[in-house]
Every structure is written in structure tokens, then in C-alpha cells.
Subunit: 120 residues, 2 copies
């Protein structure tokens, strides 16, 4: 059985020149890479993921979000602050309450695609 690759150097250096050169092109620019991982990390927490889901179609006040995601209002408020900083959610104050809403069209698509992946 003949080898599919041709290794040509030693430790610390590139072992498979052609493959490595091709692969290098696949890596995005540092800032894109950072934004990407930040976005995914955002959705990597179940609480935030649920918040995104419930806020996708309508605005909701903090208490209702808390009830829906099964977390304390404080915990939700902390998460919303992060999501607000990332410009993922918009908010609107009305009297005692603050209504939050998802302010990013792409997120829903991302979750939908992810869900299709999970469903195998």
C-alpha cells in the first residue's frame, strides 16, 4: 500500500508542504476569527441560547424571559448586559419594565442551521 503523503522534514517544521499551504488559506484573518469564535461562544451557553430563541420573534420583559428560560431575573439581566454589549439585543424602556428583543437577523439563521446539524 503506497503512502498517500510524502513527509519531508522534521520536528517543529512543516511535514506536508502542499497540504499545509492549502490549509493555511482556509484560516480567516485574526479579527474575523475572533468575531467568529465570540459569536459561537455567545451561543454556546444554554441560557443565552434560550434567550436568543425567545427574543427572536417578539420583545419580552426581563421577568418573562427569566420565567421562560428558568433562571433568576438577576442572572438573566447579567446575560442581557453582555448581549447588549455585543449589539445582539436591543431594548426599550416602558415605565417600570425594559423590553428586550433580538436585534440580529443572522443569529436565528445560525441557530436554525445548528439545529439541523444536531438533528443529524
Amino acid at each position: 500500500m503506497k503512502p498517500r503523503h510524502a513527509p519531508y522534514t522534521t520536528h517543529g517544521t512543516v511535514l506536508h508542504r502542499r497540504q499545509v499551504e492549502d490549509a493555511r488559506r482556509a484560516i480567516h484573518a485574526p479579527d474575523v476569527l475572533q468575531g467568529l469564535s465570540q459569536t459561537f461562544k455567545m451561543l454556546g451557553d444554554e441560557t443565552r441560547l434560550k434567550i436568543c430563541l425567545v427574543l427572536a420573534r417578539q420583545e419580552l420583559c426581563v421577568s418573562d424571559i427569566a420565567g421562560l428560560v428558568g433562571m433568576s431575573e438577576s442572572a438573566v439581566s447579567h446575560q442581557l448586559r453582555i448581549m447588549k454589549a455585543m449589539r445582539l439585543v436591543a431594548y426599550r424602556r416602558e415605565g417600570k419594565m425594559t423590553y428586550y428583543m433580538l436585534d440580529d437577523d443572522h443569529i436565528e439563521d445560525l441557530i436554525r442551521l445548528g439545529a439541523r446539524h444536531v438533528a443529524e
Copy 2:
């Protein structure tokens, strides 16, 4: 200015009945939710994200992956173990080397969609 919502109860209970009922339907089943956040969390780490990118088109040995993503071989090996456990990568041994490759079509789509999002 008339209120857009009609609050009707107090603390701990639902404040906006209709919105909450609609929102509740948007939350996926617990196992789907968990799978989703796990997948996103996976991509939420820059090292793993880069590994996915470089392994999308061709297989590579651990040393070359390490060189490409700028991490020690040990660090990469640890991450590959996790990714292997998640059935995200497949591997093939050939002599001294182990060649890894992305074993999940959806991941690339997910990253591509994410990248489009980052680019605004």
C-alpha cells in the same frame, strides 16, 4: 401614547401572557438545546475553530495542525481528543503519524454562515 402590552400579574408569574406563550414554542427540546449549545461551544474556542478550518479540506498530521494554528502539539492533541469524542473529526494512523480530518459536513456551513454574520 397607548401601551403596546397589557401586563396583568405580579412577580414570579407571567406578565405578558400571549407573548410568553408564543415565545415558549420557540424553545427547543432539552436534548436539542444541549446539543446546540455544545456544538456552538465547540466552535467558540479559537484553537478548535482554526482546527476545524484547516481540517475541512484535507487531512493533516498533528504537527502540521499545531504549526498552522500556532499551538503546541500537546495542546492540539488535547483538543483533538475532545473533537474526536464529539465525532467531529476522524483520524487515520499511518506509521508514526496520525492524520486527522473533519468528519462533519455541517460544521463548514455553520462557520461559513457565521463568517457572513461577522462581516455584517
